[in-house]
Every structure is written in C-alpha cells, then in structure tokens.
C-alpha cells in the first residue's frame, strides 16, 4: 500500500511532538506498551487516543517492526535517514563500507577503460563514467559524514565531562579512534589504496581526453572535482581530526588507566588492609639508615630523654554494675547466634566489623563482651589477629584493635552453648 504524501505530511504536522518523542528514543526497541506510553505522555484533551496515534504511526510506515527482539518497533530506516538529513546528523561509516565503494569504483573504472577505446562501446563508456562519478560522490559523502560524526562526538566528549566517567570517555574516544579514524586514514593517506585508485581514474580520463575519446566531458570534470575535494578537504579533514584527537586519546587513555589502577589498588587494600610490598617498593623512597654501632654517649642521651617519662594512666572500661547481668545475658545470646551461623559463613575475616553489621542494635558493652567470649572460647573458636590496627564504630563507642578473624573448630560447629 502506498502512503499518500499529503496524509503522511499532515500526520507529521499535527503530531510533531509525538515524532520528536520517538526521535529522542530512537536507539531503543519499542514494544506496543512503550509506544502507547510515549503517546500518553505527550497527549492532551484535544489529541486523538494513544491507541489511534500508534495505529496511524504504523499505517504511515513511520515505524517498522524490528527483526529482533520480536514484537518490537523502530523508526523506519528511510524515515530516520530523512530526519537525520533535516537535523544534519552525521553517522560514521566503517572503513569496510568505504572498501565496498572502492571495489565498485574499481569495477566501474575497469569497464570505462575497456569501453572508451572502442568506438562501438561509446554508450557503455558513458554509463561507466556516470557510475564512477556516482560511486565517488557516495564515497565522499560517507567520508564527510564520518568526519563530521567524529568531530561531533569528540566535541560532545569534551563538553560532557561531568556526566561521563574517565573510563567511559576513553571508551568512546577509543572507539572513534580505532574503529573509524585509523582505518580510514589507512585507506585515504597518500600512497594508500584510495588515492592510488583516484590517480588511476585521473590518468585514464586524461588518456581518454588526449585521444579525443572522452564520452561525457561534463561528468569527467565533475569526477576530477570530486577527486580534488577528496585530496584536499576530506583527507586534510581526517588528518586534522587525527591531530586533534591524538592528544585527547592519549590523555583519556592515561586517565582511564590511572582510574583502573586506582580502583584495583583500593580494592586490594580493602580486601587485604595492606598493599603488595612490590607496589610500595616501586616508589623506592630511600631511607638512609645505615647499620652502625651506637656509642655509650648516644645511648645515655636517649635514656635521658625517657628518664622523666610518665605514661598516661590506662583508662578502665566501666561495665557498670546493676545493668551488667542483663548485658552479660545479651552477650551470651549474641555469641550463641554467632556460633549457630551456617558453617559456610565461616571463617569470618573481620569479626568486629561483622558484629557491627549484624547486630547494629546491641550496645557497645554487649558487643565487647561478645568479642571477649569469642576470644576466650578456644575450645570452639579459632581466632587470630591481623595487622594493621583498625577503628570500629560499634554501639555508641569506638573500638581500636587489630582485625580479628574467627573460625569455628570443626567438632564444635552448631553446638549451642548454655549461658
């Protein structure tokens, strides 16, 4: 069924907001429910029903069914291309596509070379010449679109710093760099495949002209114009893009590696509470402490410094008296709940952090007693201390001690303890 232009244009004119909405979500696969949702979001009391709008959209073939996922829709490629044309949105083209055009150009050139010397093949030569021009024009359009798309994306990456992480920025620029820019330069640069073909075309045209056998002079002039555009503006554009993106690509690659390295370092430190010795050794900050003997005078001087040293009194933890029995019972209950945990929960690498997380409602003294019960119950529990010292906020207090790892002794697993 052919869609009448007037009807399609009228639909677009009346429901431009709906089409705009679809355009914003053009990279997604829409289900019918999605389409109805878009229509509802933008409709008002004067609008047709969402169901009618979606039906019209399908009827005018502005959207087509996707191959997969099934029962989903997308903008019809031709319609999308038209909007892109209006918006001057450029899509990059892979070098493989350009390779395809080059192949077609080569075929057309072969045909032209075969046809122009023979007077009876004048029509074929004219056709081949037209073909060369068409292919060349398409190639240049695609190259120009690629160049523009690269420039646009680079500009977007540069300006959208806040919304993109360093790794994401690098991923996007690296895609442009590796997928489009370098392969394209590899095709276009002086002495490479495409310029060589252009040289060949120019030679062939010149030869045909010198023999007064050029069938369509007007087209030949266009072809030489296109080749000039390719040599100057397109190739220069790609070279300029290369020069512009190279430092950006380098910088983002470096930032991405810093970020990945930092994340790994912090991950390692979180897990081990320490760095690999080799990592610190990389910095190799010299610490000139040479082995030597100390004289008596030096030792006496050191001793004198400590002679009047008075250590601070060690503050005792006040467990209280009257409420203590309740806390004691609670501590035993917490302890029992700990050792009744399924065996797969053991070993617990950081027991105090575990207590703070699992028993957030218990107070400081109860959790401290629980820790004491665990450390003292050597019959059922294996505990071990690991440096460095850490600070834990448990209950309303802060506990400062080395990390305690806890494991159940095998024979005692799942045996509750009587308070």
């Amino acid at each position: 069924m052919i869609v009448p232009l007037r009807e399609a244009a009228s639909f677009l004119c009346n429901h431009e907001w709906f089409v705009s909405r679809l355009w914003q979500h053009r990279d997604e696969a829409w289900t019918d429910a999605d389409l109805l949702g878009f229509a509802e979001n933008v409709s008002n009391e004067n609008s047709p029903s969402p169901k009618h709008l979606v039906a019209e959209l399908k009827k005018h073939r502005f959207i087509v069914e996707r191959i997969e996922p099934s029962a989903t829709w997308e903008l019809a490629p031709a319609f999308q291309g038209w909007i892109e044309h209006l918006n001057m949105t450029a899509r990059p083209v892979r070098s493989e596509v350009i390779d395809g055009f080059i192949l077609a150009l080569e075929t057309a050139l072969k045909e032209f070379s075969r046809a122009w010397p023979a007077p009876d093949s004048w029509a074929s030569a004219r056709e081949a010449l037209q073909d060369i021009w068409q292919q060349l024009r398409k190639t240049i359009e695609n190259l120009a679109a690629t160049q523009l798309a690269i420039t646009n994306e680079v500009s977007e990456i540069k300006t959208s710093r806040v919304s993109l992480s360093a790794t994401e920025r690098f991923r996007r620029i690296n895609r442009l760099w590796k997928t489009y820019l370098l392969p394209m330069l590899d095709l276009l640069d002086t002495g490479k495949k495409f310029p060589a073909l252009c040289d060949h075309i120019e030679q062939e045209l010149a030869l045909a002209l010198s023999k007064h056998a050029l069938p369509e002079r007007r087209v030949a002039i266009r072809i030489t114009d296109e080749i000039r555009t390719l040599r100057h503006s397109i190739l220069d554009g790609f070279r300029a893009a290369h020069s512009e993106i190279r430092p950006l690509h380098e910088r983002l690659r470096r930032e991405s590696e810093w970020t990945q390295g930092a994340a790994r370092i912090l991950q390692h430190f979180t897990r081990e509470r320490d760095f690999p010795q080799q990592l610190a050794a990389r910095l190799a900050i010299p610490n000139f402490r040479l082995r030597t003997n100390l004289t008596d005078a030096v030792l006496k001087r050191c001793a004198a410094q400590w002679q009047n040293y008075q250590p601070n009194k060690i503050a005792a933890i006040d467990f209280g008296s009257t409420a203590d029995m309740t806390r004691k019972r609670q501590a035993h209950q917490v302890f029992d709940r700990c050792i009744k945990l399924p065996p797969k929960r053991f070993p617990i690498p950081d027991f105090v952090a575990f207590l703070a997380k699992e028993f957030p409602d218990e107070d400081f003294y109860t959790l401290l007693r629980t820790l004491s019960l665990v450390l003292n119950d050597t019959r059922r529990v294996d505990s071990d201390f690991h440096l460095p010292r850490s600070e834990y906020n448990i209950g309303c207090g802060t506990l400062c001690l080395a990390r305690v790892s806890v494991n159940l002794r095998k024979h005692s697993q799942h045996r509750p303890r009587n308070p």
Binding site: T167, R251, G261, A262, Q267, I285, P286, R289
Partner: protein
C-alpha cells in the same frame, strides 16, 4: 641498632682533574631523605641540565642511580645490585600511604568526571586540605583510617611528607600545590591499571615489572 648516618661518603676515585661538583653535599643530604627535585628547587638546574651526567656518574659509584624524567624532575633510587646500597632500606610504609592517598584522589576525581591531570597539577588556586576527598566519604575515610590517616591532623602529616619528598609545596596561605614528581605516584596507578591483572595475580604482575618501565612518558635514566 641503627642510626642516621649524616656524613658524606668519601669521594669515589674520580679523575683528579675534574672540578668538584657544586652542591654535592646538599644533594646527597636531600637524596638521603628521598627528595625529588623539580623546578623551583635550588639545585634543580644543576642536576637536571648542567651536570646531570657528572652527578649520575658520581652517585652510581656509591650504588645510587639518578634519574631524570622529561616531565621535569629528578630523583634517585638505590642500585639493588650494589652491596652497600642494598643495606639501605626503602621507606615502604610512607610509600604505601602515598599510593593510597593518590589512588583515593584519582578515584574521587574520576567519579566527578573532571580532568584528573589538570585538577591535580593545574589548579590555579591550589588545593586545600579540607577540600580533599580523602575524608569526605565513609568508604574513603575507612581506608584512610586503616592506614592510620583517618584524621585531618594525620592527613596534614602526610601532606608534610609530600612536601619533604618534593611531591608538593605547602604555601603560606595553607594551600598546597602538586609538583611534577607526583607523576611517579600516578605512574604506579597507571601501571597497575595497564596490566589488567586478575585480582589474585595483581601482586605477581606488579612484581614482574621494573622501575625503568614505570612511566608512559619515557624517563631518562642515567647509565654509566
């Protein structure tokens, strides 16, 4: 028992016709504490431009390698093959703290989407301790606490270490600026990111690399 040895080592057997190197004592004194020299340090141009080869030659004879980095700084490392130098320890605790400091800073800047290099090196107004991200979030604060750097005073102490080593300059208005040698800390993060090791093999991967391969920008290591 150990103590600081503050005396300058006896001059190696150099050619007697060679003029004595200027500021040799000062350079050796600073080198002992792990100093990195960059633009603004009194001895920087002596080291970096005029007499680098002569200094490098001199120090290599006592087991110390001088390095000149094209990003604008010099530093020294100990030659592990040298018997005398192998008895000199390296300060791994300080190094670990500096690496942790750097990693947290990078992570916070990367999350904020800002240009990491410019934020660290090119902040016109300088950095303020209270604006650093290290104690701002719970997760970072916990890491800093584990390393014994969980308070502003301890962080300030680390900042003074950065200054002592030549990685930063603290200004009279309590701001500080990061200096080119800080690139060495970034290089360590970069290598750790570049190797892409599985978490369990990270340590092995790091140990297999050599300091000479440390920077992305090539560094100029003096060779005798």
């Amino acid at each position: 028992m150990t103590t600081d040895n503050t005396s300058i080592p006896s001059a190696p057997e150099a050619s007697p016709s060679v003029a004595p190197l200027p500021a040799l004592r000062q350079i050796f004194e600073e080198l002992k504490s792990g100093r990195h020299w960059s633009f603004g340090d009194p001895v920087y141009f002596e080291l970096f431009d005029h007499n680098f080869a002569a200094y490098a030659d001199w120090f290599s004879q006592i087991g110390i390698q001088l390095h000149r980095d094209e990003r604008g700084f010099c530093h020294a490392t100990l030659d592990k093959d040298d018997d005398a130098a192998s008895q000199i320890s390296t300060n791994t605790k300080t190094a670990s703290n500096l690496i942790l400091f750097t990693a947290i800073w990078i992570e916070a800047l990367a999350d904020s989407g800002r240009n990491i290099h410019d934020e660290i090196f090119r902040k016109p107004e300088g950095h303020r301790l209270e604006n650093l991200p290290h104690l701002a979030t719970e997760s970072h604060r916990r890491l800093m606490t584990d390393a014994g750097l969980g308070t502003a005073e301890e962080l300030n102490g680390l900042l003074k270490t950065l200054q002592r080593l030549g990685f930063a300059t603290i200004l009279p208005d309590d701001t500080f600026r990061i200096r080119p040698p800080f690139h060495r800390l970034l290089d360590i993060c970069q290598e750790y990111g570049r190797f892409s090791p599985a978490p369990d093999t990270a340590q092995n991967a790091t140990s297999s690399s050599t300091p000479a391969s440390s920077s992305s920008a090539p560094s100029d290591t003096a060779e005798k």
